[in-house]
Subunit: 269 residues, 2 copies
């Protein structure tokens, strides 16, 4: 039942404020991928940049989910390839921190970040779904954005909904950590992956933007929770994942069947 899927997390160079240049860079990345099934994940807000001066600037960089400048990215994809692209979305009124899921035949879905981080609440409206799952040519795809993934309720929910792999666009600001340790967000992603045997494709930024230094956490996390790819010289982490859908642990245990949801709701103390 196992099948293999090529996945790439692309830590794109982003010019804050230059939507046309960023879209061109995304298109260039998508075009250069070889043919065959391939999941390609770009960072959070990759079309606009992240560190907005204010809501007015964010609004000036926002795109509708059906904007031809975005949807035409489909033309850059091979058949059976799927891209997940973080973008600053407007519905004409509100702004969302969103990710568009694009296949060769067009838009497959749009997810709006449900857990906003820091000053994002001054700009964005939170989405009304905690992560989302889309059926795509590369399989059943989970999508979450950055801080979303620090809520294990969300990653577990997507896995239980049948997500075979999680696309995770992020902008992780660099924080202090003990020597030799992964970034804390990476540890949480590794744990969430192992908890549900849910491979995770993390596309982070690198370098800095308007004084905010990024962690550079771009990586592919295997279904067992280990980092199986980090960026090459071009900033892209690529791996071929084995996706079996099997949640068993030996003959006695199963990551899903061993759950006891009837005991998790109430707090009996």
């Amino acid at each position: 039942m196992s099948r293999q899927l090529r996945v790439s997390a692309v830590s794109l160079g982003v010019e804050i404020g230059d939507v046309a240049a960023n879209l061109a860079a995304v298109e260039h990345e998508l075009r250069q991928r070889e043919s065959g099934p391939h999941l390609i994940v770009l960072p959070e807000l990759v079309t606009s940049g992240y560190v907005f001066d204010d809501e007015t600037e964010a609004r000036s960089l926002a795109l509708r989910a059906d904007d031809p400048r975005l949807t035409s990215l489909a033309d850059a994809l091979h058949t059976d390839a799927v891209a997940v692209v973080g973008f600053c979305e407007t519905d004409g009124d509100r702004l969302f921190n969103s990710a568009l899921v694009i296949g060769r035949d067009g838009v497959l879905g749009c997810y709006r970040k449900a857990h906003l981080w820091g000053a994002e609440c001054d700009v964005f409206v939170p989405g009304d779904e905690a992560g989302a799952v889309f059926d795509t040519p590369v399989g059943r795809l989970g999508v979450a954005i950055c801080y979303d993934s620090e809520f294990p309720e969300l990653t577990r929910r997507l896995a239980l909904a049948g997500a075979e792999v999680l696309a995770l666009p992020v902008c992780w600001p660099l924080v202090a950590r003990p020597a030799g340790e992964h970034p804390p967000e990476t540890i949480q992603a590794m744990a969430a992956a192992r908890t549900s045997r849910l491979a995770t494709v993390i596309a982070d930024r690198h370098g800095a933007e308007r004084g905010v230094e990024w962690t550079g956490g771009t990586a592919v996390v295997s279904p067992d929770g280990w980092i199986c790819a980090t960026p090459d010289d071009d900033g892209t982490a690529t791996a071929v994942l084995d996706l079996s859908g099997d949640k068993s642990l030996g003959v006695h245990n199963d990551l899903f069947a061993d759950r006891r949801p009837e005991l998790y709701g109430g707090i009996h103390v």
Copy 2:
């Protein structure tokens, strides 16, 4: 509002099958602690050993939670010290993989493991609570046992119930891992700690028992999810934790308030 608490995780040497010797070793450990508030955590099934030949052997090593051989451990504790001791429990009929919470004045609670690992299901009945929280002289104490902690639903539940620190007796069998990485169970414990700012005191075994090699994951994990103590030459990991109860992340965010539980239940795909 911050207060400090001394915690110790003791990786005790265990003689499988020799309850008297193991209880004497536990008592010795408890007696040698200095006075003052102190949480002392011993491994899972520390009174019996873990690798039973069969259910009959386990039954021969089981103790009632009110067995004087166990409850008299209270006499070895200083005022304001609390011990969490994994033991093979019987209620006269069924067997449980349990942890007794003991203070100077006697037993404060007993938790029965809810998520059984491997062949444990041939021996034990699972408990009917997913982790437990007890009010003790060292504060509001969460208790879970080994495989329990791999279910983020459980650790989150305990944190939301007000647990200030999690006592985690374990027997982690050694599994392969990439060079430089922590054991996978440690990564999950670090992530769970950071997710809810819940310090975790992990008492694991070391060495081997009947051919099963242990990971040796004894450690104290700080509220921020970092390993802040590993065993000294005597096998004990001791740290002084700052327990503030504060779940805020800067001015905009809060680990608990940012949850959106209304979105986690249903699977909308």
